[in-house]
Symmetry: D2
């Protein structure tokens, strides 16, 4: 951390800064520049409280943090790529892992049918919501445990591991009983007690980026999970909030190479939430694979216009199959792969 004094700072003010640094147990190193004094703080990690304390002192113009606040998630600490194993599916390796399924689990038939269809198209994990965070209290909020049971049954039939959202610490054990991977949603990225509870569950965790979270905050949220001795964290970019109105969010694909540089954790992309429009999803699937994503979350529904949530961003079986085919060609072009499925099953409309 660097403390920049303003050009009129007095000696007393400089000494006061150094005194506060020492009270926090750190060493300081002053340095006279041409027109102002600069003081370095040695040691790490430096608590926010020290930064805030110094910002308040007289003569201080600016406090600049130069060391990172996170450690366990950083590539400096762990140079090799991490691979997260979810019931045999390896996220972060050469294979691009596609987690597909309905936004919400609505019925057993809808879920099983979708699970078979996405498996046939090459997906290797099943996604689906049993507990749904909804902006309005008057919307459908998911089937709860009943939904978890349906997901487990779909896994039994298809062999696809299940990832599903948990919204509150009180439900962590319940969800962990049925699911293979716990999803922390965008609205809960800074629900720190939930992060810790998910970490303690021992299950792999899919951590969605908060819709207005800086990448550093996202990595710090992952640090909360890893600090519980849980190394199986997968990051998921799902669009950030911007001024643009034609897309629900702005999908930040540059987060892929940024994360790859800063962290060893795998990163997957959610183009369904990220765009909010089904007709933008295939293009963003291809872009994500090309940009280096380790996987994707894709919403698929037998009849999107009959979906109980987010139908507008769900692909039909047919559109999903096409998008998987082109994504697979791109994966091959960069030396990765998406498994070929067994072909499209009978669709809901037939």
């Amino acid at each position: 951390m660097i403390i920049v004094m303003n050009s009129k700072a007095t000696d007393d003010q400089v000494q006061e800064v150094e005194k506060r640094i020492q009270e926090f147990g750190f060493r300081s190193r002053p340095s006279q520049g041409e027109d102002r004094f600069v003081i370095s703080v040695l040691g790490s990690p430096i608590p926010d409280a020290l930064q805030e304390a110094l910002e308040h002192l007289g003569g201080v113009q600016e406090v600049v943090r130069i060391s990172k606040k996170y450690k366990l998630v950083s590539r400096e600490f762990h140079p090799e790529d991490s691979i997260v194993d979810v019931r045999g599916v390896k996220i972060g390796g050469p294979e691009v892992v596609v987690m597909a399924g309905p936004c919400s689990v609505e019925t057993e038939q809808q879920t099983l049918e979708t699970a078979h269809a996405v498996k046939a198209a090459g997906a290797t994990m099943l996604r689906g919501g049993a507990f749904k965070p909804r902006t309005s209290p008057y919307d459908f909020r998911g089937l709860g445990e009943e939904g978890l049971k349906i997901l487990a049954k779909a896994r039994e039939e298809t062999g696809l591991p299940v990832v599903t959202e948990v919204m509150t610490t009180a439900d962590v054990d319940l969800v962990a009983e049925y699911a293979d991977m716990l999803q922390i949603g965008t609205r809960n990225m800074q629900n720190y007690l939930l992060l810790e509870a998910a970490g303690k569950s021992g299950k792999p965790v899919l951590l969605k980026r908060g819709m207005s979270a800086e990448i550093e905050e996202w990595l710090l949220a992952a640090e909360y999970i890893m600090a519980q001795d849980n190394e199986d964290v997968v990051l998921c970019e799902r669009g950030i909030r911007t001024f643009e109105k034609l897309t629900r969010n702005t999908l930040d694909l540059s987060a892929i190479p940024v994360i790859k540089r800063l962290s060893h954790l795998p990163i997957v992309i959610d183009p369904s939430q990220g765009t909010g429009k089904w007709y933008l999803v295939p293009s963003m699937m291809r872009g994500a694979v090309a940009a280096g994503a380790d996987g994707m979350l894709v919403e698929v529904h037998p009849n999107p216009d009959h979906a109980m949530s987010d139908g507008g961003q769900s692909l039909t079986f047919e559109n999903f199959q096409e998008a998987m085919d082109s994504s697979s060609a791109i994966a091959s072009a960069i030396g990765r792969s998406i498994p070929k499925g067994s072909g499209v099953p009978v669709s809901a409309d037939d």
Copy 2:
């Protein structure tokens, strides 16, 4: 809700839209414009699922929602201003309510000293954090129940009602036991289970705006609380996330007249979180009062440079007193009032 068909939509596509509307139990009314068809949906409230379903249908160019998603919080539903009573302090009436105190409860002495100081300067409620959400897992997270006890003691000594944050459903009963008003923090604005638990507690709730929440989402979060038969909700604007780097957040004072137009609920402003810089706080306190805020949350600390959290945005006793004096003059100028305190007590530095 209005469905705009594209200019090449077929009759079959129009009929399909009308059919889906009827399946959801609503009536439709088609209307041929000059170059495209427009279909109105009659009835309210219209679920998101219908909107999403229609967005997926062929020939649909756009679906425009014209009725609001919230009801209980709306001024249409409840034309008169609501006044929320917190242990005798009335928020939403002619008096501007100042809730002041330390960011975090650190020690009994620090808290009591601050409580007396802010009361002397005209504050009528005490704020202070016992449970602190922190971006990094390595930062101070508050004293927990010990902090709640200190707050209760400060109330006993000063008579100031206490508002403090609750971070998880599991703690709602505990916090409600000590506090007079539950605060939902910005990171939890869309933690729907927590909103409902706070609503059920029967305590007044201070609902902070999510740092990237649209005002409509914020009102829907308040609707979650009110839907639990809890009418005592106070909204708190605390700055939104923008591209500007010189302030921690961008304090959106225009939210005051917007909320006053759309809702009957009181609105207070947090200029400490909203700017993140103590030297910007007094100016924003004055601006907030002038723009019509019903109250303010202000961070005050005996020695801000020794604070364990957010010292950089905390006022000293002296700065707080000055800011209260000028704010009080502004309140008078618009026919409201901030109580005169009894004068500044001996400060921590003496």
Copy 3:
């Protein structure tokens, strides 16, 4: 400027950094921290090119700029508040200067009528657009020189100095011939050739903040004008672009104390553009005055629903009068003043 090397940087990499710094003519000072090397660059102002050069070198983790890029506009360089004189009206002094008038000059009658009305209510400058930047090529773009003549006539009749927008270097002389102050609009804040041309005109310049400009960029734009030996620059905050949809922009009143701290230049607020809704304007006028604004730009129209542009954000004469009265009371409460006008003239509707 500080260069932070990553923890695995080699000696050669450190030397390469120092060599580049010297090639740019600056001195460097290395410093070994606990786990990484930090190199300071001495001297100022440091060009962007050096920063960018260093970011490219091996072993460099981060380059942090600690000195400001601007000079003439800074308070460090010029500690006293600047007062800008526009034909006798002093902006930046104890009086809060209100510049009011129609969004667009439409007819002589509309402009004269409005000029008399705003003067009667206490405005001391007249605003009005003759050249209008419009998002769509199919919208009304102003009367051009004819509009400038009408503004000059209104000044003649009322004595109010005129501020109006200039959109291109080719028009600077023409606009300067009629206007007392040149306005640079939000879309042109980084039209650097226009800034220089306006600076060279010798006229006072009102520089609107770009709708997504950081405050530092805004000050640098002002630096372009001042670098032409033109000291008469007034900054105007007019709302920034955010994700919120209920207001046209988010009016950033915290820019007032930020600018007051960093710069000696006066700052005025445009609540009409800043909110885009006439019913939010009076509240934001009061907030701006209380927060320390040196003036305001307010759109007023005899019949806002008949305006040829931005009618939705224009006040009627009556609403303007009321807003001026309450703003004036607030100015008094903080030791400033808004002149009392002579009373409301006969309005257009009568």
Copy 4:
């Protein structure tokens, strides 16, 4: 356009709305919903002034625009993809066009060397700045006409058509004399007089998205150019401004499929400006091609750490060659192509 009346609107208020619509020359169609009145405006295009007029009327709750403001750029108006021919290079066809070169033209040697290198790697157009918009008045602003001459010489030697920025109407003729395509920069996207002048020049125009422009505003800016009977417009996404600090901008690749849906114009991507970090560029080049971009602008420099501007985001010859190879493989995977160059020439470092 739809006018939603509030639930307490009177008959008189409804009539007043209809009267205003008729005064503007449009027809209205009222419709009684269950709890509120809705009035449709028939005809198009509807001027902003009518929308603003109606927003001001009593009883009006909301005015919703449902028809688009642009026409010439829309796919409804021109269903087939447009192909823009720049001296024989076809943008918008099956070939992905790479425009590469230095950020700024600095010397003849640097430019020629780079032109040969990018051609060898598969680029088919040369980019380079002779007029540079710079945030600070103290930075290098380009060589001006001297730079244009160097670019023309590089074209002569390599056969690569040249695209370069024009910053002001006064320079349009000059730049058009040397360049094959005029670039309108992000800061000038709403410099309407410049758009018209570029349109009138008859040269193809590359229109960069404003850094905080909504896609609709961007299309309207293109409409300004096309309204001058210039059909050769190429859109360029170059990153938008968000809260994220680790990238200079957030590159919005979802703009590609959005534009493809709304417009017939080609779209290219600038990953150098879009990320601001050279090490993120190759990944975003691959992502852009996969997502359907018709081309790319890439900054390349013989010695990025000696560049006079934006060195931090420029690729070396070697990095560019590698990125082109992988991008080419991706183009093939989706049925498009990037030409193979003739191999890397001797680099500046040898």
